[in-house]
Amino acid sequence: QQQVKQSPQSLIVQKGGISIINCAYENTAFDYFPWYQQFPGKGPALLIAIRPDVSEKKEGRFTISFNKSAKQFSLHIMDSQPGDSATYFCAAQILTGGGNKLTFGTGTQLKVEL
């Protein structure tokens, strides 16, 4: 019940195309849904995040769509660029009373080709 399922495992998109990564969760206690971007040899870095009372959030080329009833959320990267090539993790957060505990999806390796 604590799992976050993420798909696809890998994705190849042409420059200028749209990258779409999907995640699903089961635990309704999750209260915040961030997406992290990770480049090789680096730690995950927050990309964009959404609260479950919002259906969509857009920041530049990145958009999260959130479907609370289906317990699904997705990341859309518009006009994908080679510099977007990285691993993307969706995550779900629970407040434990002693911090924010993140449960990560399995990751999607995105490659944007010229």
Binding site: Y32, G98, T106
Partner: protein
């Protein structure tokens, strides 16, 4: 820009040896975390630490693991007797508070290789 720093970047150790991974969280942050990522797998929560005590730990964080904040700046993860399966990238993270819209800042990680 403030950042979480981890040392060393890579540690190789013999099975059965003790290792200490070090982290310097962002200075005004109050909550500290360790996560690990086995090669090619997802990032997994290990432990959270607040007010000088563990606030939450996962089933991975057994008696072989311990955390400490020995002074006002460092946050350490100790593995008492390393096993081959402890080989992973270990990430330290910190947050200024607990709550919604609170970003977790991750360090660049320590790659632990147990041989």
């Amino acid at each position: 820009e403030p950042e979480v720093t981890q040392t060393p970047s890579h540690q190789v150790t013999q099975m059965g040896q003790e290792v200490i991974l070090r982290c310097v969280p962002i200075s005004n942050h109050l909550y500290f975390y360790w996560y690990r990522q086995i090669l090619g797998q997802k990032v997994e929560f290990l432990v959270s630490f607040y007010n000088n005590e563990i606030s939450e730990k996962s089933e991975i964080f057994d008696d072989q693991f311990s955390v400490e904040r020995p002074d006002g700046s460092n946050f350490t993860l100790k593995i008492r007797s390393t096993k081959l399966e402890d080989s992973a990238m270990y990430f330290c993270a910190s947050t200024p508070a607990e709550g919604l819209n609170t970003e977790a800042f991750f360090g660049q990680g320590t790659r632990l290789t147990v041989v």
